[in-house]
Amino acid sequence: MRLTDDVELLDGLPIAYIRSINALAVADLHLGYEGVASKGIALLPKVNLSNIMKSISTAIKKTGANAVIVDGDIKNEFSRVDQEEFNELYDFIMFGKSERVSLILIKGNHDNFVERYKDSFKLKIYRQEADIGGYLFFHGEYLPENITKNTTMLVMGHEHPSIGVYNSIGSKERLRCFLYGKYMGVPLLILPAMNYFAGGTEMNSEPRSSLLSPIFKKADPNGMNAIVVGYGSTMDFGKVGKLRGLRA
């Protein structure tokens, strides 16, 4: 789906493609998730990394992008780098190499210690936000600081947005989505989580006050468009406010 002349939301993938900088934008990979969970509470089968690689690989083939911008939370653990996590991080970096794309990481709240690998893997890491070709990337746990009149679009992750759809036989389906709206007059794109396991924040039922990102103190989520990803396509469902109490 074409979002703007320069930005394409790739059909069925939680990935945005920005033509002018020939880069893919993704967020919230949370690599190592299963390994960490499995040491404690639940034996999650490993499916996250392989799914992410498949999606990105498809996107690269479609667009010819030569960079992947990870808009925060490439890994999962806050406090340490778990062995399982490291293995996956390593595999992901090697994957980037084999696809011949450069990896650019905007640090998120889960990304402690990643700087350790910066040099050995030639990773490009930005601490909080980065202006790349007029697109201001930031993870979303803090507000963006350097908005200028040259800022074309704000791009963030963090929130894991999704839309809950109920049907009347008692089942509910959660579909991940992009959110597209404005913050301080500048277009704002919120990326869905790449992580396979992220259920996501149900934008159409959650009250504004319990959302994670401080951005929603100023940007009303009800006024943003939910662009739903799933079942091989990407579709604009309209304003979040209109989707409250949605039943299919």
């Binding site: 499916v47 036989i169 008692g170 396979y196 039943r247």
Partner: protein, 900 residues
Amino acid sequence: MIEFVDKSFSDSESLDVLNGYVREWFTKNFSELTPPQKYSFKLISEKKNVLIAAPTGSGKTMSAFLSILNSLFNKSLAGELERKIYCIYVSPLRSLNNDIYKNLGKPLEEVYDAMKKDNGINIIKGNMTEVTIGVRTGDTSQKERRQQLAKPPNILITTPESLAILINSEKFMENMKGLEYIVVDEIHELANNKRGVHLSLSIERLQDMVKGRITRIGLGATLYPLEEAAKFLVGFNGETPRDCKIVDASWSKELDVRAMSPVKDMISSSNEKIEDSMYEEINAIIKASKTTLIFTNTRSGTERVVFNLKHRFKYGEDIAAHHSSLSRDSRLDVEELLKKGSLKCAVSSTSLELGVDIGTIENVIQLGSPKSVTRAIQRIGRAGHSFRAKARGEMIVLNRDDLVECTVMLDAALKKHLDSFTVPRNALDVLAQHIVGMSLNKKWTVDEAYAVVRSSYAYSDLERHDFISLLNYLSGKYVGLESRHVYGKIWYDEDEGAFGRRGMYAKPIYMLNLGTIPDEVAVNVLLSSSKAWIGNIEEEFLTRLKPGDIFSLGGRLYRFEYAKGTKCYVSEAHTNLPTIPPWFSEQLPLSYELADEIGEFRAKMSAFVLGNTKKKRADAGRARIGIYRTLKGGKIPTEASDFLSLYPIDSNAKHAIFGYFVEQALFAGAIPSNKLIVIETTNEEKTGTESVVFHSLFGRKINDALSRLVAFEVGMMLDEDVSIMVNDNGFILSAGKSVKFADRVIKDAISKLLEADIELLLKENIRKTELMKRRFRHVAGRSFMILRNYRGWKQSVGRQQVNAQILLKAAEEIDPNFPVIKETYREIFSDVMDLARTKKVLDMIRSGMIKYKMIKTGSPSPFAHTLFAFGHADVVLMKDRQAYLKYLHKLVMKSIKSGK
């Protein structure tokens, strides 16, 4: 071979198996042998496996234990009694454990006292020792545990869960190597569920570990079929069940029961009048009896009845409530008071229907249908403690479906038609636990372990590939080698065909997480505006809620908005009708057999009624008025009256039933039965939407499956989302306001369904439901995929729930037949629903044995009313419902009077 023992032994034959001391003690304390004892003393003394079915108060405990005590005293007399465990007693109820402990304490002490008098010298020499007894449950203190290890009791009283722990305790197992007997009590509470399945595997593992053959004794109340229960108890040896003798003394107690309607006309009497009259009836019974036990179907109902009785008739501390939400202490208090005879009346939901000794109850009152013949008998059987006493009981009903149900139920009870139970077969989650447990015991070859597992009846036809898929899952085969140390709970070498222990965490995981009862979640209900806490609802209830649904909590109505984890956000609703009944999750499902018998009853009644009404429809006018008088309480035609007189009901009830059928016949011209499904397209006037009512009286487990299937097909054809309301008597489909259900669509949907692979269809249908997620969480927990307890960290259920969702998705990705998923479907299809019988019903429709008939009505017909008012209510909590029922009834009567 499993066989019933028809002939009891003579008293002297039975008593001759006992040694002098035991015999003397018995004859001094009991004046005669009870029916089960006339079989059991001798059979058990011959070390036969025995299943004893007998009502409460028939000396069951002694019938199982006396021969065992006798053999232990013989050992003691011969100086051969060692400090080890000879007998294990397992009961699902902890409180029963204390009872047994006390009950056995007396003979142990008294017989030994008598022995001491004659054998002083042996005692001094240390040749003769006391027979000892001990209790081991989750409540047993560390100190006692240590003592039990050092000085094991000869008889160990325990629960299924504690037993599962003990068989994985190497030191304790040393004390059990000489085990001779295992007694399984309350087998009717175990054989039909996973807790029992779990126990059956523990017993087989135990049998595999001890030296000799264990004699198995099962005790149960009323249950059917007993052959199944026997197989469950004794298991298989190779391809055939082990030998077992069945002693069926379950009918040794006579029943004296009837169904009563508090008023003649349950529809036009005011709520107040019905309630007044019900409490008057109850009070009269309480006054006339020494002690009365009242059963309601819900905990809230129990509270309400206690409150009303105290309030209306000035009872004080002589009336008490007993239900599972009360603290253990207050329940024990009530039990004690009952035993002492100092309570006039106790009110209970389900908690007193089980074996705890509660002394002599003179009368049992059941409010509303208990939904199964077996349960009815168990409850009423609480009356008249001695086996010679008649069990007296009354069932008071407050709506007409309930009345018909109870009438047929009591008739079935008197005719000894019980509903059947089934043993869950091949439950993979329970097996997963035991495989981990087994791997901790030793290194196994796959063949050897598979054989032990298959010796449990619950797994006697377990497929080998299912067993292997569990080994693969538990050894972490679905992740790469480098991660297996994290995922694997057992070590498994495919080439060698062997498995065993892995790592140091497997044992604590097993010990801390075993068991089959899932953590229950109390969902907090909060106002979305102020976040003020309103109360709790059960998780199951939450899974039924959709945004916009209205439900009542603490007497007020709330609109559901959204849920997050274990919090549920609502706003106040300003209407007077809830869309979801509050008792939903507490409601027991009607058994299939009983549903079928009610269907049969309906068929018979419709023969009397339809003939009459058709004739009279023809000459309308005067005759119609005659019928109308009958409805108003006039005389019932002779043949119908004679027929109804065969049932254990009072005259109010007779009138109410007849009137109910006449109304249905006059209004709809069709009466559904077990051979006829009436499909009624109707308008629900309050909302103006068209609905289709399927009068399919097959019980909720079948209707649950059937309704989803029909809704799915109809929905596909109309391209609409169809909503379902379901209860034991049928289900309702409806869609949006403008949606019409043409007959052709319904017919096509049914014929499509008759050709479909319904299992596949249902799988697709429930894959994304909350029901699936919730059950998956339970199964994943039992399979050790989600750990409640890990390295001492207790995980909240909310967390488990979140995990379960993503876990399900990931597991599906790896393999749609992943054992944990497979088990979830199995559980839903055979425990929540009854897929096997749903298939049978569809077969019968296909072959024409069950017909269906489509009718159109302007407003719902009388038989649909309770469905529209949301299934069966707890009779004591039904004011709102009744207002609605009356409204529907008015519509019907208007139509009948006007001659439609």
